[in-house]
Amino acid sequence: MTTWPLPPTQLAAAYCERRQSPADVIERSLLLAEQAADAGHAFLIQADGEGARRSAAASAERYASGTPLGPLDGFPIAIKDEIDVAGLSTRYGTTYMPSCPVMSDAVAVKRLRDAGAVVIGKVHQHEFGLGVTGVGPQFPVPRNPHAPDRVPGGSSSGSAVGVASGIIPLSLGSDAGGSGRIPASLCGVFGFKPTYGRVPRTGDTGLNGSLGHMALIASSVAAIDHAMGVVSGKDPSDPATMHEAAPFESLGNAGMDLTGLTFGIDESMWRNAAPDVAKQAREVLRTLEGQGARLVDVAVRHGELTRQLGFLVLTAESAAQHRDDVRLYAANMGWDARAVLAFGARITASDYIHAQRVRHELRLDVARVLSSVKAIIMPTTLITAPPIHADATESGEVDDDVTRGLTTNTFLANLTGHPAISCPIGCDRDGLPIGLQIVGDAWDDAGVLQIAAWLEREQIARVLRPRVSYDLVTGAS
């Protein structure tokens, strides 16, 4: 039995055959999270040991009676801090927001629990989700498991570190500018942002803006696929979900044939990629061609401006969203988060509306491109994980070059709402993970996952065991 990384089917099979019990696995997960914190990779910032043990016991009973709820039953998961989990506080990755347990789960969390998944707690995130490195003064930085001197990426930093280190096979995060896909890319795991409106955002007020999406970060495509089958679907509390064209239906990875499939390549999204990133990603393109896929050049109108467009819309909406927080907590905030909010507060209504009109043209053009290709493929991030600077852990930092390197290709799918996944396709010469992004057509979430599953099955995309990792089945590090 392969024990690392842990495919969900193997864990469910081990439970069914009584080789493992949900109670033991959950206990191990909680213990390993503590060990990871001692080793400088503190991804879990609020543990729910009592709740997790209770859920694990209920899961064990279901397996004992032969009535498991499905492949996620007994599956340890953790939730990004800004997403509501009943009994835990929602503090948006800060230490100064009120510590006040919320009464109910976010809709996506409840749906995961209803499928038997066991929430072990809440994970680290960049303060208010307003950064993409995961580094700041609020909590100790959960260091990248592949290189402890490198950033984990953000803002769903704890989600990616927990998954990459092997302690949780799946985490629910969020993504308003790449916050799910960027840390997945830097930590070498899969990160999926579904179609806008596919997964309810109810219970995550951090996602109230027009770019916000839930995200799933996992060590296997199958885990994302199973979770999507559970968390997606209409929710009257989130009007965006009422546009859902048809329910999500998994396509799995069986029978995928690339012959005749066409993928779009926009060279402007590759131009500034670091040499190792471009080299590895282009090797994947050659493999796809070798399997019968066709690559065509495409040019997305305003594609070269998506970073600026996303930044302007995101900062303006965030400044509006956090007006009261700035009044109440400015003195407690990291200076990087405060910089983003100060910048957003200066954007005029006219500039914001101008940006939304450009965004309208971008949406139309991406829809045009995706009407003739199955997906657009590009590196998720143009660079691999940058170093952690000691002063950034004290004050926060603003590094325009790093922001460009991490967000140039991720904002596109937030601005248009299209589904996108980051797949781990290897490492650079320093052993740092590289992510390849696949952006598919609206509501074709299953199609995007099917391509990722094909890459995974062919071992083109795979989660490599990092230097700092833990075995959830044996407990070994």
Partner: protein, 68 residues
């Protein structure tokens, strides 16, 4: 090739934030920073008069596969 922009942290970052927050000089500081970050390029972009102002944030444009 774009010249490398300085990484801001500590004192420099605090000064930058306080400048942008300043009611007197904040607007100018914002546009200087916007220029440096390439946002100016976006703000100067021409958008045809007929482009709508979208207030519906559901950003999914029906494409071939999504049409009923």
């Amino acid at each position: 090739m774009k010249p490398k922009t300085p990484r801001l942290s500590g004192h420099m970052l605090r000064t930058m934030v306080r400048t942008i927050e300043s009611p007197v000089i904040g607007g100018g500081a914002f546009y200087a920073m916007a220029h440096q970050m390439g946002v100016r390029e976006l703000l100067d972009l021409h958008v045809p008069r007929e482009t709508p102002i979208p207030f519906d944030h559901a950003p999914i444009v029906a494409s071939k596969r999504n049409e009923p």
